[in-house]
Amino acid sequence: MSASTFSRTASVSGMLAWRALILVRRMPAVFIPSLVMPLFILVATSGAFHGISAVPIGTSSYLAFTLPFATIMGAGFAGINAGMTLARDIEGGFVDRLIASPAPRLSLVAGPLTAAAMRSVFTTTVVLVAGLIGQLALPGILGTVMIYIMAASFAMATACWSMGVALRARTVQAAPMMQLVVFILVFTSVAYAPRDLQTGWLRTVSDWNPVTRILEFSRTAEFQSMSWTGFWGAIISIAVLMGIFGAFALYGLSRLGND
């Protein structure tokens, strides 16, 4: 990619990201769930399963244990939303407008991707503030930064997946497909209990699930017990997710206009 193509892609992507963020703000039906869902997960999960606090899970507070689950799910919702916006844009014809212009096609994916990462910053902040209200200890600067980075990375990975679905299905009706995979990915990691406590099939699945390393590293970031092993495990997992989902999205992008 030449320097000028790169700068063009960057400027159009920036504009599309800006648009995506504007739309979130102007559509209450999108904005309110993105605010409420991570909060709901935090409060409902930690409240309903408070009893787990008595079990060795690395902390004496199930609320603290749940917090990264909520930030990661919030990021997942931001990613899903990128796919839903793209699907709506394909249905509504906005994507045609973009493709018929000389704007680099890559920006069609890169713009919403950026927006999803930015939205995850918002949802993560909401969850962290709720944690503070729930009297959780501050994770320190490095820990906080890492929680944000994990969320943003997961938002981008799920955005790639959702946009890939949108580019194939070309209808908002495909939203359940986007949601299903993201939910299953997160729920079959270490969302509700650490791996040591998991049994049977879930233990096997979570061992292989890339989201496990991302969630586990977010937890160590929260408890200020990060390790390089955990860090690299998370980075590799993100790379794996981005690789698979990114390729899926780019393939969908290349098929646009073919049939």
């Binding site: 769930p33 869902m37 709901f40 409060v43 409902a44 999960t45 409240g47 309903a48 399963f49 408070h50 009893g51 787990i52 008595a54 079990v55 299953i184 729920f187 079959t188 969302a191 509700y192 209990a193 406590l197 998991q198 049994t199 049977g200 099939w201 879930l202 233990r203």
Partner: protein, 260 residues
């Protein structure tokens, strides 16, 4: 048979067949409760022995199956409401109303269909749980009580869905209410015992009628047949059903223009 009963049966049959014809109508109501039940069981199964206040059970699956049943009834009831709203949007409702079909048959048929489907769902979940090692302390009688209560629970829940359909006339709006009901279930003892909760969350679960409803059903599975608890569940269902059906009847009248 009187015409009203024939009409009700015919319309109920239509609703049931329509449900089977569209996988999106029944698949989520079986799939999601199963997945959550499986994940919760594998996540918490090893821990429950260490949690003060957790009732004595022979495994988390036996505890969790009631939650799955109630959740399944909830999801399919929202689906029933959305289906009804679809009938309103698509004009089938108007066609029915303008035909000599009795008004109560329109409402009753949908509720009957939901009751039948909910009973079937409950049997399905119990069988799956049994296959994966759950036990039913109440035996056949306990299982029957659970199935009957689950089937009856479809009346208030589907009633609520239909009420929303009559008020909004939009399938999307009815589906949009789902997260709210789902939240209500989380703020109860559907997934975990109230005894292990603390603070305001426990207060919320104590007040939430869903807690007592679920516990009355669960008791039959984890402890044995308990008619008193079953009566509590039945009482809650009866009260909720009266409210939901009453609200349906009122909004039905309102939709038809006041004093029908």
């Amino acid at each position: 048979m009187t015409p009203a009963i024939v009409q009700t049966a015919a319309l109920a049959r239509r609703s049931i067949f329509a449900t089977f014809r569209f996988p999106q109508a029944w698949f989520p109501s079986l799939f999601f409760p199963l997945v959550l039940m499986a994940i919760f069981t594998a996540s918490f199964g090893r821990s429950i022995g260490f949690i003060p206040g957790f009732p004595h059970v022979d495994g988390f699956l036996s505890f969790a199956v009631t939650g799955a049943i109630v959740q399944g009834v909830l999801i399919s009831s929202v689906g029933a409401g959305a289906f009804f709203a679809g009938d309103i949007e698509g004009g089938f409702f108007d066609r029915l109303v303008s035909s000599p079909t009795s008004r109560s048959a329109i409402l009753l048929s949908r509720l009957c269909a939901s009751v039948v489907l909910a009973g079937g769902q409950a049997i399905f979940f119990l069988l799956i749980a049994l296959i994966f090692g759950a036990t039913i302390q109440g035996g056949i009688v306990g299982a029957l009580i659970v199935v009957v209560l689950a089937a009856l629970l479809a009346i208030p829940m589907a009633g609520l869905g239909i009420f929303l359909a009559l008020r909004t006339g939009s399938a999307e709006a009815v589906q949009g209410m789902f997260p709210l009901f789902f939240a209500l279930m989380f703020f109860s003892s559907t997934f975990f015992p109230r005894e292990t909760m603390t603070g305001w969350f426990q207060v919320a679960a104590d007040i939430n009628p869903i807690s007592h409803l679920v516990e009355g059903m669960r008791e039959q599975i984890i402890s044995g047949v308990n008619w008193q608890q079953a009566a509590v569940s039945f009482g809650i269902i009866a009260v909720l059903a009266a409210i939901a059906v009453g609200a349906c009847a009122l909004s039905f009248r309102r939709r038809l223009g006041g004093d029908a």
